[in-house]
């Protein structure tokens, strides 16, 4: 059914995103990039790709941060273009994507204020997709309820924030809890929204978001193993929309060390393999997660008439920027031997 009406409103944007996707760097491009000797070489190589002349007005010598900023700028402009041309429900879907950046920005600002950083400097570091009205006022707040009542109540994150009002003081631990509670609420909401859309969007996004949820569960578990976070509190932070829920999350909530984590994953072969790292391997668990995420996102392009491609494009492009920055850093710091640990997309 969606094949009949999808193109009426979203066909143009799907075509756009698939066109953008065709510009994602391939393995060949990366091979060329890794051969560069200086960042200027890198600029020359990137000029031959879809990035085009995005660095042409930057004076040499280039900094890696400039490359990252400019690359992110192109991505954001692509996304903004699509957002501006989208109608409901795609526009809502795209808004949902930006919420995760809002969460990150919020946490960034709160943490920064806690460490008494300069507000403007913090604002510059915020992801442009996650800017919302009054975000700057976040640094005024000193406790959670004030945070909520002053700023968050008006932001799209308000419904998620309601759930973490119990925490009182803003300290490292609480901020971490807020972040995870927000994410949990956000993921569940996003997941439910996608399921509500139905059709292939639900299938494709379901898979991606389930993995996202499971990744969070695993990360929370591993990071909280030897901390003062109680097991009950830990369980509360687990998103409930993943494949690990409910059995896996229950086991993980009770895990005391990484061996128990591994045992909890026994019945999830997909995830278990992440932990089978060969000794001395350069790849970390994080890399494995990224690889799997890239795999899922790539796969979403094989389905038509669904919104997963928009999400996937953004995530793939972010991975690409991470790759470019990694390569650029390796070149800038003369660490050529590690240059190959980027994650190939195509």
């Amino acid at each position: 059914m969606e094949a009949l009406f999808f193109n009426v409103e979203d066909g143009f944007l799907e075509a756009m995103v698939r066109g953008y996707k065709a510009g994602i760097l391939t393995n060949n491009n990366y091979l060329n990039l890794t051969q560069c000797e200086t960042l200027d070489d890198l600029k020359l190589q990137l000029a031959a790709t879809d990035y085009g002349n995005f660095l042409q007005n930057e004076p040499s010598p280039l900094a890696t941060t400039t490359i990252a900023d400019k690359a992110r700028e192109t991505l954001v402009s692509h996304f903004m273009y699509m957002r501006a041309n989208a109608v409901k429900p795609l526009s809502t879907f795209l808004d949902f994507i930006t919420y995760s950046y809002m969460i990150d920005n919020t946490i960034l600002l709160i943490t920064g204020t806690l460490h008494e950083r300069d507000t403007n400097e913090l604002l510059e570091r915020c992801h442009p997709l996650g800017i919302f009205d009054g975000i700057a006022a976040l640094c005024v707040a000193t406790n959670v309820s004030e945070l909520y009542n002053t700023v968050m109540v008006e932001s799209p994150l308000a419904p998620y924030f309601e759930k973490c009002l119990s925490a009182q003081d803003l300290d490292e631990m609480n901020i971490e809890i807020i972040r995870n509670t927000l994410y949990k609420a956000y993921l569940e909401d996003f997941y439910n929204y996608c399921q509500g859309l139905g059709g292939p969007t639900a299938e494709v996004m379901g898979e991606i978001l389930q993995f996202e949820a499971d990744r969070r569960v695993l990360n929370i578990t591993l990071n909280s193993l030897d901390t003062e976070l109680s097991k009950d509190d830990r369980a509360k932070l687990f998103p409930t929309c993943g494949r690990l829920y409910p059995e896996g999350t229950m086991k993980l909530a009770r895990a005391d060390d990484s061996d128990q984590v591994r045992m909890a994953l026994d019945s999830y072969p997909d995830y278990k393999q992440f932990f089978d790292l060969p000794v001395g391997s350069e790849r970390s668990l994080e890399d494995k997660f990224f690889e799997y995420e890239v795999h899922l996102n790539k796969r979403s392009f094989t389905r038509q008439f669904q919104y997963g491609v928009f999400y996937a494009y953004l995530k793939l492009k972010e991975q690409e920027i991470r790759n470019i920055v990694w390569i650029a850093e390796c070149i800038a710091q003369q660490q050529k031997e590690r240059i190959n640990s980027y994650i190939t997309i195509f």
Binding site: N32, Q35, C36, E37, D40, D41, L44, Q45, A48, Q56, N57, P59, S60, T119, D133, G134, A136, A137, L138, C139, V140, E146, N149, T150, V151, V153, E154
Partner: protein, 846 residues
């Protein structure tokens, strides 16, 4: 000049040995000349690993600075001296001059940058002062108002204070440290502090809401809009701003407000509570603003002078840099020789231009005083050369039409030559109207006569399409005038120039015409307005379309012969050309003869004339028989049966003859054992490398060439023989031709259809508008005439000229691309793209 359009020019693969020290001027000279297309000799080398990357990078940097300066000049609205042609074709520079240019650019860049920074600080200061002035003015107004209503406000605020703050229980003590800030203003006793500042208008709403929530409503806020637009010194954007003043209670709250202000991007200015002090401040600010304005103006002037200096040379500088960049990009495609003392270049050039190139090379040697001149070698090759048609401003448009379909294979017969006439003609057959033709011709004549002036105009893509095709349009117009005369149509009316050949007599109700003589030229005007005009023109135009179509297609098939003879494929004449032409002529050629025969015959009773359509259909359905009614001449049945037989024989002839002969030839050659030998010979690189061309006057250099002589021999020289493949190919070809002969002939009927549509549309337009207008009488007539004519004219131009013209153009295009060119044109070549500064500069200008 041998650069005719019939075939593309002969090309030569040349090898150039250029001593390293004069490589740059040599390439620059060749770029000015624009006769050589260089081949990339290092296709496997990465862009940044090539020999001259550093030079290019340096030029990139210079370009970036030029762009920066240009942007600054644009922003400062300094007029840029536009390039006149002498600068346009200005030579590229020597290395030293480039160094100097770079230095100058660096200089200018640094100076402008520095001025920009100082200007920015000044602007920022200026902005702050302006904002402060506004804040002071607005607050003054506010306080003045407050003063007059002191009692009201005092009472009000007191009440509000107690009411709002009591539940919170945080009543401020009047003697806290804030008290110092509080002066003798009217609000002194109200126990309030205030914050004043400026905020962008767009953020006002959020700002207010956040303040309200953060302070739980414990504030009084007043704001006023600044009517003067404020320019942001960093982004140069005009921002609308508001002055605000917030009263709140207590130091903590004030600190919080200040924090929120800062985070929201507002600027807070210190405003004193004492009105005298405020007045003094305002005076001081005004004075400082005045001073600052002077400084700002002089700085701006200085910057302007500097930019004007740059603007004078900007265009020529960027031309030089672009040329230099192109030179190094080209040099990146060259090879080093063994000793790394010379560069080796390979490229295609028209054989006729070799002398010009030699001359240019000699010129470079003399100018630079180099001891070793660059050497040009002509090489033998089996590579397919690029296709180069020497066109002029007249033929280029027509050639573009052909190239848009596909660039001719090397030395293939070029349909562009015939398109020059056939294209406008077929267009005119569909567009034929004397009046419309005059308009089109006038428009094209204007473009052609003013082309020098119009060339420089940039009026957008649509205009440049029209302008580029001005000669096509001119010919289309002239041909339309001609066909319009033939059709005797001028805005759907007829012209009676020579007196009609018909006389009319009234028999009862109707008028009957009697033919006295034949009208001298074209269609007799008496046909216009007669009842059976459509019957006549339809039959006439339809038959004419068939005749043109068959002629056009037969001509296309005949052009095959030129190709076959030139490429020495004589076998194809007997196996492809003959059966094709016989097939077409025996069916449709015969039809054409029938049409003419029928035209030439006098039919006393027109209703007894046999229908040619039926004749053709029954020729297939019942070969050898013909009804008495359809008989045109004696022996028709027998002849038709014979023609049909011949046509049917042609099909297996086309299908089997060529594969059969090819197979036989292959077997013969294979049997004699020659096949391997000839292939080997072609693949021997030394044989190609050593062959020196006629232009080479230093044979001793050949020794060096053997090492570096880098000749790729493509495997296309010999082909693999596969009988099945040839058979299938031939089968497709045959089916396509036989079906195509019928469908393509039918396709030419569009000539009739469009011409009919055009004539009818223009007639409708005339009768519906002018026809009605002319029927009016009295005082209405002049007004109606003016309005009606304007409407008729606009619609004629809009619908008949532009839209109909476009559609006729597209149909003519189709007839050429599909019906004509598929008969003989391979269009598989590659266009010759010489390295020429002219095209490079023109490209970047877009």
């Amino acid at each position: 000049m041998a650069g005719n359009l019939f075939r593309s020019e002969e090309m030569s693969l040349v090898q150039l040995y250029i001593p390293l020290e004069i490589a740059q001027p040599t390439v620059s000279e060749l770029g000015e000349l624009g006769h050589v297309e260089f081949r990339d000799l290092n296709p496997n080398v990465n862009a940044f690993q090539r020999a001259f990357v550093n030079e290019i990078r340096r030029l990139d940097e210079m370009e970036r600075k030029l762009r920066f300066l240009e942007g600054q000049i644009h922003k400062a609205e300094v007029p840029v001296r536009s390039m006149d042609s002498s600068l346009y074709y200005g030579r590229s520079r020597t290395q030293q001059e480039i160094d100097e240019l770079e230095e100058r650019l660096n200089d200018h860049d640094a100076r402008v940058q520095q001025m920009n920074t100082s200007l920015e600080t000044l602007n920022k200061r200026y902005l702050e002062l302006t904002e402060l002035r506004h804040v002071l003015r607005e607050t003054a107004i506010f306080f003045d108002e407050a003063n007059t209503r002191t009692d009201d406000i005092l009472g009000g605020t007191h009440r509000e204070d107690t009411h709002l703050l009591a539940p919170g229980g945080t009543l401020e003590q009047p003697d806290d440290n804030e008290a110092v800030e509080r002066g003798e203003g009217a609000l002194r006793s109200a126990n309030l502090g205030f914050v004043a500042g400026v905020i962008p208008r767009g953020r006002m709403g959020t700002f207010e809401r956040i303040l309200f929530r953060a302070l739980r409503g414990n504030l009084y806020m007043n704001y006023a809009e600044i009517d003067e637009p404020i320019v942001d010194p960093i982004t140069d954007e005009v921002v609308q701003k508001n002055v605000f003043i917030i009263f709140a209670h207590g130091a903590q709250l004030l600190a919080k407000i200040k924090k929120i202000c800062e985070s929201m991007g507002a600027t807070v200015y210190p405003v004193d509570e004492r009105s005298e002090k405020r007045r003094n401040d305002a005076q001081e600010v005004l004075g400082r603003l005045e001073d600052l304005k002077h400084v700002l103006d002089s700085t701006r002037n200085q910057r302007r002078i500097e930019l004007a200096k740059v603007a004078e040379n900007l265009e020529s500088w960027s031309t030089v840099v672009k040329k230099e960049k192109a030179i190094y990009h080209t040099m990146n495609q060259f090879n080093y020789d063994q000793n790394r003392k010379a560069l080796i270049a390979e490229g295609w050039c028209p054989t006729l231009s070799i002398n010009a190139i030699q001359y240019a090379l000699r010129g470079v040697t003399e100018r630079t005083g180099a001891t070793v001149p660059p050497i040009l070698n002509e090489m033998r090759t089996v590579l397919e050369p690029p296709t180069f048609h020497r066109t002029n401003k007249f033929t280029v448009g027509f050639q573009e039409i052909v190239d848009a379909y596909g660039v001719a294979a090397y030395r293939e017969v070029n349909p562009g030559l015939f398109t020059v006439i056939t294209f406008p003609f077929l267009f005119a057959v569909m567009f034929g109207d004397f009046g419309h033709g005059i308009f089109v011709t006038a428009f094209a004549t204007w473009m052609v006569s003013q082309e020098k002036k119009l060339e420089k105009k940039r009026w957008g893509e649509i205009w440049s399409t029209f302008f580029g095709g001005r000669y096509i349009i001119l010919l289309m117009g002239i041909f339309s005038i001609y066909t319009g005369l033939i059709y005797n149509d001028i805005f759907s009316k007829a012209m009676n120039l020579f007196g009609s050949g018909w006389e009319f007599h009234k028999h009862g109700e109707k008028w009957y015409g009697e033919k006295k003589w034949t009208y001298v030229f074209g269609v007799d005007p008496a046909w216009h307005g007669s009842d059976n005009v459509l019957l006549f023109t339809n039959s006439y135009k339809m038959k004419m379309a068939i005749i043109f179509g068959v002629m056009h297609m037969s001509f296309g098939i005949c052009l095959n012969v030129c190709n076959f003879i030139y490429f020495n494929k004589r076998l194809n004449i007997y196996t492809d050309f003959l059966p094709q032409i016989i097939f077409l002529l025996s069916i449709f050629g015969y039809l054409v003869i029938l049409i003419i025969y029928k035209w030439a015959t006098y039919w006393p009773d027109a209703s007894l004339a046999p229908g040619l359509l039926n004749t053709l259909i029954y020729m297939f359905l019942s070969p050898g028989n013909i009804g008495q009614k359809d008989l045109l001449y004696k022996g028709q049945a027998g002849l038709q049966g014979f023609l049909l037989f011949v046509a049917f024989v042609c099909v297996p002839w086309m299908l089997f003859a060529k594969p059969y002969f090819l197979k036989k030839e292959h077997e013969k050659r294979g049997g004699l054992g020659y096949a391997g030998l000839s292939d080997e010979n072609l693949n021997d690189p030394t044989a190609a490398g050593f062959t020196s061309g006629p232009g080479d006057n230093r044979p001793s250099e050949d020794g060096a060439s053997s090492g570096a002589g880098h000749v790729e021999v493509a495997s296309s020289g010999h082909e693999h023989f596969d009988f099945g493949e040839i058979m299938i190919h031939q089968m497709i070809h045959t089916i396509e031709f036989c079906l195509g002969a019928i469908s393509n002939t039918a396709s030419y009927l569009r000539l009739w259809a469009l011409s009919l549509a055009h004539a009818q549309l223009s007639e409708v337009l005339w009768t519906m508008i002018m026809g009605n207008v002319l029927l009016m009488e009295g005082a209405v007539l002049p007004i109606a005439l003016v309005c009606g004519f304007a409407m008729w004219f606009v619609l004629t131009v809009g619908i008949l000229l532009v839209m109909e013209g476009l559609s006729a153009f597209l149909h003519a295009l189709r007839l050429h691309w599909v019906e004509f060119q598929n008969k003989f044109y391979a269009g598989s070549g590659q266009k010759f793209q010489p390295f020429a500064f002219q095209t490079i500069l023109a490209d970047t200008e877009e």
